[in-house]
């Protein structure tokens, strides 16, 4: 089976994904996202939770979020609640799978690695308003447990009473994908038997107004890969996955084959014009997995819908794959969920594998005719997919590309 052959890299092996789930503007759980993928149904709409001085559609979560337990009140933030909502969604069985892993391996052997770019920034922004008015932070301001990046993985670790390694990865829009890479390593090299990985980000003023001042935000619904694309719509959400050490009973489940990582070494907010870093990330992923480009059956693009990002990604994908691999972007459905995007889109790729379908590119009307890669506009059911890929590229020129494989029959 592709990707399961012996690699020259010692101990580097495919790692099963034993449970996963998501919350985003399409709703709670994998099925809500799958239905949106199938029907190219956008979850983007009006911003209601914040007040900002311009108009842009956002991918805001509409579900009611659970309360944080009183013992963990210092961790209470929208980010922590979004993560908890996903964790507790019983239909996808994530929390149950973690509890089983905990009883099998012990809490010391289970890690938590979460990507985030915002963590509890939305709460910090409100605290700063108090600071300016009253000359001090509000009494319930808890910087390290709400605002700081590590607050999000720590809130999950405390909620689940786990004791293994726990840290945040924060590499802007590749955070969620890089967390999966770190989790795969912790299992591969026997630090952990299971790792809860993923990405969580929430809407806040800083990201909305910051991206707007970079002139990267669209005032309309975004159009990824479209000739008339004019910017991103920002979203929020969580994608959580449980990685476990390989075992026969997990052979039928999807596996993380590899995560290719690279740097652009070019600019803080603009991609390398020739897509050098993106090509390196995809090539590294393919090489680490022991595959050839032709083995990849579908690529979930980063496809943010900015002029330059989509152009560079299209060029990079063509350089590695020519026009042979169908690809599509999902940010027209969820918005760009920044630090969570790499994890939520990993789940898009996993759902494509699970349902043997290729999602369309929601928001794409007319493909940019400068693009030579094989972009899919409308979803295609009844496909045969063995190996899928998901791209994530972040500020600082930080790139990650994940490859998943379908499990054994």
């Amino acid at each position: 089976m592709n990707g399961f052959k012996d690699s020259s890299l010692s101990h580097f092996k495919p790692i099963p994904v034993t449970a996963f789930t998501t919350i985003n503007s399409c709703g709670l759980g994998n099925n809500a996202l799958y239905q949106a993928m199938l029907n190219s149904q956008s979850g983007l709409g009006e911003l209601t939770i914040l007040d900002i001085p311009f108009t842009t559609p956002v991918g805001e979560i509409k579900n009611e979020l659970p309360a944080i337990r009183p013992e963990l009140v210092a961790y209470d933030s929208r980010n922590a609640k979004v993560a908890l909502a996903a964790l507790n969604f019983s239909e996808d069985g994530l929390r149950t799978a973690i509890e089983v892993a905990k009883s099998n391996y012990g809490s010391d052997r289970i890690g938590v690695v979460i990507g985030t770019s915002t963590s509890g920034l939305s709460e910090t922004e409100i605290a700063y308003q108090v600071l300016l008015k009253q000359g001090k932070m509000p009494d319930d301001f808890h910087f390290l447990t709400r605002h700081a990046y590590q607050a999000t993985p720590r809130s999950l670790q405390k909620e689940l009473q786990l004791n293994g390694p726990c840290f945040a990865v924060s590499t802007a829009c590749s955070s969620g994908a890089k967390a999966i890479a770190a989790g795969q390593r912790l299992i591969n090299y026997d630090v952990c038997d299971a790792v809860l990985v993923g990405g969580v980000d929430t809407l806040c003023r800083l990201t909305l107004r910051g991206f707007n001042s970079l002139e990267l935000v669209s005032s309309d619904l975004c159009h990824p890969m479209d000739k008339n694309r004019n910017g991103i719509n920002i979203g929020e959400g969580a994608g959580l996955l449980l990685l476990q050490k390989p075992a026969i009973q997990y052979h039928h489940l999807p596996h993380v084959l590899s995560v290719g990582e690279s740097s652009d070494a070019y600019h803080m907010s603009s991609p390398h014009p020739e897509g050098k870093g993106a090509v390196a990330a995809m090539s590294n992923a393919i090489n680490l997995a022991g595959l050839k480009p032709d083995d990849v059956d579908y690529i979930n693009l980063h496809a943010t819908a900015t002029l330059i990002n989509d152009q560079v990604e299209a060029k990079a994908v063509y350089e590695v794959f020519n026009d042979s691999v169908p690809c599509s972007g999902s940010k027209g459905i969820t918005g760009h969920t920044l630090g969570a995007a790499g994890a939520i889109e990993a789940i898009v790729a996993l759902l494509a594998l699970q349902h043997q379908m290729i999602p369309g590119t929601c928001g794409l009307q007319e493909l940019d005719n400068n693009f030579d890669c094989h972009v899919i506009k409308n979803s295609l059911p009844d496909q045969t997919l063995q190996t899928v890929m998901s791209n994530s590229f972040g500020f600082g020129g930080n790139n990650a590309c994940i490859i998943f494989s379908k499990g054994y029959e």
Binding site: L9, S10, H11, F12, D51, P53, D108, S117, T124, E125, Y128, Q129, L132, M137, F143, L144, H147, A148, Y149, Q150, P153, R154, N163, P165, F167, A168, V169, S170, T171, K178, A182, R185, L186, N188, Y189, D190, V191, R205, L206, G210, F211, N212, S213, L214, S262, S263, D264, A265, Y266, H267, M268, S269, K276, G277, A280, G394, F395, G396, G397, N398
Partner: protein
């Protein structure tokens, strides 16, 4: 799998270099001229400190920065930039600086380092409160298992506004280590994969105070062991519980 990493070089740069003397360590002064003007103008002090330590560590290890993957570990990252942005955001209509915005991400230092040295290798930016150095070393160890060779680990935190989490951020410190999992004769010191310590190790009140002020100071016991040639000792990597530690050794 190779449980041991070789420490090829270390460097430390601190706002309180005189206080490092209490631990028998010598800090280097921040060198603001290591970056060309276009990068220097936009880089924060924390990035300049991290770049100073990283440059010195690479120099001592005789390592080309362009060839090294890297792990940047910090609790607050670009907290001064973020603080300025949060103050600006309090005004509904205030303009947000696009440069400050993209320089507020946690991987800003990692990004500048890559741009400075034309390094296309993988780089990551992590955070883990008191365990930040321990988790940075663990991630560096794991990356070297995946891709044998050398890696740069930089652990840093700058001066923070005093209303965020006092006393944290009252000292600024950046340390850098070049680590390898392929040993050569001239390499002297090794560390094992970080693990949770069963019996907690004693921490001096001076060190405890230092790490409360600067979590990146968790590197100090390891640097002291290198100075004192404390071979075969267990070195704490954080001061809190659960405690992470590494076995420090000598390759000879």
């Amino acid at each position: 799998m190779n449980n041991h990493l070789t420490i090829k070089s270390v460097a430390i740069c601190c706002s309180e270099n005189n206080k490092l003397k209490d631990f028998g360590l010598k800090g280097i002064e921040v060198n603001k001229q290591l970056m060309p003007a276009n990068l220097r103008r936009r880089a924060s002090l924390t990035t300049k400190m991290a770049v100073t330590a990283a440059t010195e560590a690479c120099k001592q290890a005789d390592a080309n920065p362009a060839n090294l993957p890297s792990v940047f570990a910090s609790v607050g990252g670009e907290i001064q930039v973020t603080d300025a942005l949060c103050l600006a955001l309090s005004e509904h209509q205030a303009a947000i600086s696009p440069t400050q915005f993209h320089n507020s991400v946690h991987n800003t230092t990692a990004g500048y380092w890559g741009i400075l040295h034309q390094c296309y290798q993988a780089t990551t930016a992590i955070a883990a409160v008191d365990d930040t150095f321990a988790m940075g070393l663990l991630e560096a160890w794991a990356q070297l298992q995946q891709q044998p060779g050398e890696i740069l680990l930089v652990c840093y935190d700058e001066l923070w506004p005093d209303y965020l989490a006092p006393p944290m951020g009252s000292y600024a410190l950046a340390s850098a280590l070049v680590l390898s999992n392929t040993t050569t004769n001239k390499d002297l010191y090794t560390v094992t994969r970080p693990a949770i310590t069963k019996n907690s190790l004693s921490i001096s009140p001076t060190l405890n105070d230092f790490t409360q002020r600067s979590p990146a100071a968790s590197v100090i016991p390891l640097l002291m062991a290198i100075n004192n040639l404390d071979a075969d000792t267990v070195i704490p990597l954080n001061v809190n519980q659960p405690q992470w530690s590494t076995q420090f050794g000598n390759t000879d």
